[in-house]
Homo-oligomer: 330 residues x 2
């Protein structure tokens, strides 16, 4: 059942896609889907000013797991971006320094390199820009960045790793290079070869009938208007009212009323293992989350059977998890 | 330089060993060392009432990394027993729920199955007895055990894993089985094939000359009186004054004045990667720790050269770290 869409929430693209999808999807035309989606590439785009090297990746892995760059000494990036929990934390809102609870749900790091906006409000565009935020945030790792750098400088092992990762830098242990190394490691945390990827590459048996039907609905209803591209995110901002949310979202960054309550479209890759959902983690059920999104964002109320199919499709977006052994820290 | 030993600190065995060692060690008689030490076996003793099975080990690994059995939802066994940090935390005293700091240093889980007393005060004899303590402790994971069990019961995946691990138990998700599974996983966290182990097995080149000299000193001076056996710990209790410690130690358990300020002999395996040292983590330098132990426990003041040799020997006790990939939790 299609209802009126809330004005301004859906880009003009959506209508065109919905109309086109309703016709072409029935032809199971792979080219049509490949126009909106993309099998996950092996790596996201690498910025010109931070070449991806094994040395940076290795250092970044160490720093990602390093709790001694938090003021308590026990919180690392991996605490909230926990490899055991889909590189997120599976609680509604992040819990950090001294057990303080933040106001937002922890986004997964998986495939984050494919997004052009970081954080729920997009206040940083790049992984490099994002990496230092949680280290310094009072309610996360609560660490003065100068002190973090000073702690790292105490370790011969880190001095050697920074020198190898940044050979042209005479004084390589600094916050910028911490960010570059962590971002480099994060660019390797991708989840290729999901059933969806294999399907897009031509293995038509990689997804079940329900999953294919769910993909068609996903396109036809217009979810794809925002959830498109390799990460199934447009990296853009859209207003959505999550239950109980009093968060101004993107407005906090821009001060533009148009952005009040708008949040970056999250990637849907691995969405089945990165619950709970929405900016405040207020919904744990994927069925419920899909229903609410359909209702608010496209004006479409999914039936129970349709919900089952879309949720089946979303499960097909779970890829191969990166095999990362925690490093031996100095 | 040998001084008077503090009365009562050293078992009578020590004197005999020191005398014997001074003579026999110079003969490099491997049988002599094998009488006091032992190459690390592949597994510690397995208790009759908790057979070691792959199903229990797998479940125990999941539970070990599971933060949702803490009241905050972000602290797991692996937070303080961090695989990246020698399965300990490398801070002086454990930091747990809401950032509260405990009074004791986190012991490593590595090779803990070879110890006959758990915790610094030995208040539990077995890994099964130990496992639930930190989950329930107010300053650690701060979780009501019944609630922890209830949370696990919500997950189909855990229901399946508990049923597989405890097939004869009609109602397998309970605190006792949580303890059995975690203990089973912990019994696999051993560090074989250190240079010391290879040396004891007959590869006389596995340790450097300094390390062999350090081993001789370790025996001759009498460190081996308490640090013996496969884990280099007698699992017994000895009074030691760590700088700044006001901890009654074993006395808290027994109420016996003889035990005031006594602590379980820690394993020395991997001691080079499990700093800082002593019950309150008050000493970060291994040289300093060895000097203080020699002084207080054997009445012997190591020279700088001797300290270098003993510390070199202790580095030979670093074995192969267990290769544990964080599990995918439900």
């Amino acid at each position: 059942m299609r209802k009126m869409t809330r004005a301004g929430f859906i880009p003009a693209l959506a209508g065109a896609l919905m109309a086109a999808g309703a016709v072409q999807a029935q032809d199971n035309d792979m080219a049509f889907y490949l126009d909106m989606f993309e099998p996950l590439p092996a790596l996201p785009p690498i910025p010109a000013d931070n070449s991806l090297t094994p040395e940076k990746i290795e250092l970044g892995k160490m720093l990602f797991f390093e709790p001694r760059i938090s003021s308590s000494g026990v919180i690392s990036c991996a605490t909230c971006h926990n490899p055991a929990l889909g590189w997120a934390d599976r609680i509604p809102r992040a819990v950090g320094h001294l057990g303080q609870e933040g106001s937002r749900n922890t986004p997964t790091v998986l495939n984050a390199g494919f997004l052009d906006a970081q954080f729920w409000d997009g206040r940083e565009a790049t992984l490099e820009g994002q990496a230092l935020g949680p280290i310094a945030a009072d309610i996360e790792m609560a660490m003065d960045l100068d002190e973090a750098v000073a702690r790292l400088q105490e370790f011969e092992t880190y001095r050697a790793h920074f020198a190898e990762a940044f050979p042209d830098d005479p004084d390589p242990i600094n916050a910028d290079n911490v960010a570059q190394a962590i971002a480099s490691f994060e660019r390797t945390l991708n989840t290729p070869n999901s059933p969806f990827d294999r399907y897009l590459r031509g293995d038509v048996n990689a997804m079940t009938e329900d999953q294919v039907a769910g993909m068609r609905l996903f396109v036809d209803v217009g979810c794809v208007a925002c959830h498109n591209g390799p990460a199934l995110s447009d990296s853009n901002f859209h207003v959505f009212d999550a239950p109980g949310s009093e968060d101004d979202g993107r407005f906090v960054v821009t001060g533009d009323d148009f952005d009040r309550g708008a949040f970056r479209t999250p990637t849907l890759r691995n969405v089945a293992v990165t619950y709970p959902y929405f900016n405040n983690g207020s919904v744990e059920s994927l069925h419920e989350a899909v229903f609410m999104m359909g209702d608010q964002m496209t004006g479409y109320d999914f039936s129970d059977d349709e919900l089952d199919q879309v949720v089946a499709f979303l499960h097909a977006l779970t890829g191969e998890m990166p095999a990362v052994m925690p490093p031996a820290l100095p």
